[in-house]
Symmetry: C2
Subunit: 450 residues, 2 copies
Amino acid sequence: MVDPIELNDALERLNAFLAGDDLDGAIEYLRALHPADSAELLSELEPEDQAAIIERLQAAELAEVFEQLDEEDMADVAQHLDVEMLADVLDEMEPDMAADLLGELEPEHAAEVLEQMEEPEDVASLMTYEPDTAGGIMTSAPPSLRRFWTVAEALRFLKLHYAEEEDFFYLYVLDRHARLIGLVNLKALILADPEQTIEEIMDRQVISVHASADQEEVAQLLQRYDLVSLPVVDDEERLVGVVTIDDVIDVIEEEATEDIYKLAQMSPDSELYSPVPQSVRNRLPWLVVNLGTAFLASSVVALFEGTIAQAAVLAAFMPIVAGQGGNAGTQTMTIIVRSLALKEIEPRDTFWALWHEGRVGIINGISVGIMVALIAWFWQGNPYLGLVIGIAMLGNLIVAALAGVTVPMVLKLLRVDPALASSIFVTTFTDVGGFFLFLGLATYFLRFLR
Amino acid sequence: MVDPIELNDALERLNAFLAGDDLDGAIEYLRALHPADSAELLSELEPEDQAAIIERLQAAELAEVFEQLDEEDMADVAQHLDVEMLADVLDEMEPDMAADLLGELEPEHAAEVLEQMEEPEDVASLMTYEPDTAGGIMTSAPPSLRRFWTVAEALRFLKLHYAEEEDFFYLYVLDRHARLIGLVNLKALILADPEQTIEEIMDRQVISVHASADQEEVAQLLQRYDLVSLPVVDDEERLVGVVTIDDVIDVIEEEATEDIYKLAQMSPDSELYSPVPQSVRNRLPWLVVNLGTAFLASSVVALFEGTIAQAAVLAAFMPIVAGQGGNAGTQTMTIIVRSLALKEIEPRDTFWALWHEGRVGIINGISVGIMVALIAWFWQGNPYLGLVIGIAMLGNLIVAALAGVTVPMVLKLLRVDPALASSIFVTTFTDVGGFFLFLGLATYFLRFLR
């Protein structure tokens, strides 16, 4: 077993072989590793070393390597192969991975490669589905059985036709129209009496999903019913493929990453290794939108220019009230947005959430308000300044709680993704609220503050 | 198949049975559903309705229901059962779920229930592991084979002893000291010749994990090697259990939620439905820490009180520079923190990241700087104000890029969780940087701004 820390050591060893021009040694070393590890190492090599090794590997070995890489690394490595070799490799790969790899190539290149494949049918049909749907992430269906077969017949059928296939965990039972009517898990097949019929051992309560279903829905179904794979059907309920759990894990991780990026006010498609112009496109529009709300808050401050001219110290305290409101609002908004995503709360729970978060806001507001009041008092030697900032802080933390709940709930009701747009509205409320409360109170108490 | 939307309808139907005092109808209705759905519905009912239904279910039915609930719902439902019945239910449950349920009860109550169980051994031994480790999330090991058995013998053994067990997908091969030496997947067993030995069909490259390994490491291994379960071993390499993929999905979702909460500056243990005092404890300390840095930024503003007193308009523009820096810094920091979590980047890539993010910061800084300069110029009719705010904006977006990369990388090197502490440091840099650059430049150009 190679563990994550040893991967760096392994890379060093591999590079040592390559530095000594020992290509045979390097290949032998890679072959001894788990395919997931050799693929990882291969993707970390310099392009020329990658090319040298890849030229020497068999199609079946390359297929194993490709299946372990993510889509972009696949495309990088694939560019070292000519059309015939790539077609051979794709023939050996799982159809869904082969379709993903072809999807990364230029359309003409992909068409050329498909034409050279021995068995292009499965891959070509998988390529017709939208990427983020059940059809887009599924692979070809595992062996299917008929309900009137005996267990012995089913086993004979599997030995005859499926010895070379990838691992599978469930078998599906189809009727004469290829419609899905049941599921047999391998354990049931192993433990059954050879004379029993498939109908007797199959589970009729089979959960399936339509090929056009969103990948997020697929992930939720697999989680809800604790499945390791989910059959995908077409409009006529015919089995067209199966989504396996490893793809679903990728979906769950991808969706979490997207939510994190949206909450940080950037495009959900952001990627660390994007070219600079792409990174700018993923971020600049969000900064510009924020600029609009910043000027809104700024115009509130401008209303009180006369007050600030008379007590410039207010300018130093003003961002504290707005900033703490922003922090508290972000806390509330984040827990609401995440709980909406995990389906732990719905818009109809808004009143409960307002009551809960409102109380948290009041308690935090009183606590932070007292602290900030005391600090301001002792720093500037003016109890009235403490009073003004303390009360403004309490008020703004209540604004933060209300906005933190209401904004994502309203967005959800309007069918706008709450993760996408909540931050900007919540901080607008807390900026405007903070400046208005603090400078408004300060204007009222101005003669004590000068 | 019941889909997520229909669940609300199903709840209404169930409540209609209960409103008409038709308990038999309600139970019949629940029995016809998938256990995951009937468990979900049951957990949504009022406690008295729950109790009435639970009293009428068999231990085996209740076990199925419990296995579908999350830990807190399990404990809620379990309170309706007496010790004997609960013990019967636990005997029917998967050992890991039974251990989780017992872990939710008061220790004395759990001990009483354990004493009443027929087969408490597996559950009791699972309860000895730390919750967030491989041992804590594993369940009892599936059937294990010996390498010198024939396939026919193995099948006979499974039929004799494991007909009643939960589904399993892999079988493990142990040596005479119960050490893990290989893995057989069910497909290989089905397709093998009955006279072959287990040794001939087993896979020796079996990935395993120590019982004390962190659950995040377990999740990474299952993902990296595309496994549906991972064997867990003790100090002597003996098989003690197995972690299944459904538990790993929960871990992945939990870790993402924790990172989201940490980035939003609140306790990773935050929960929507925590009692108010707990919510306050999860958030107030973070607000207080932020208060410290807010006063630091505020003291920078205080340095320039003389400037602001002469040109109060600066107070209105000052938060825009700091705020945009905070937004841009959060974008960079978030992509670095998430990429560190997904192991797409390491601290040794810091220079690459600084170069990439620095260029993004300069381009965004020039763009936003020009926009803000023009708005300020036309709003206040003063080109110098535009010049000052534009240059300060560019400068602060560069500060944001540098801090957004450096802070999480340094925290990672110091073995502090970057998600936990990056936000506070990055916004400190952008607040201090923004105020200093803007007010400093404004002081220099003061005679043009009055």
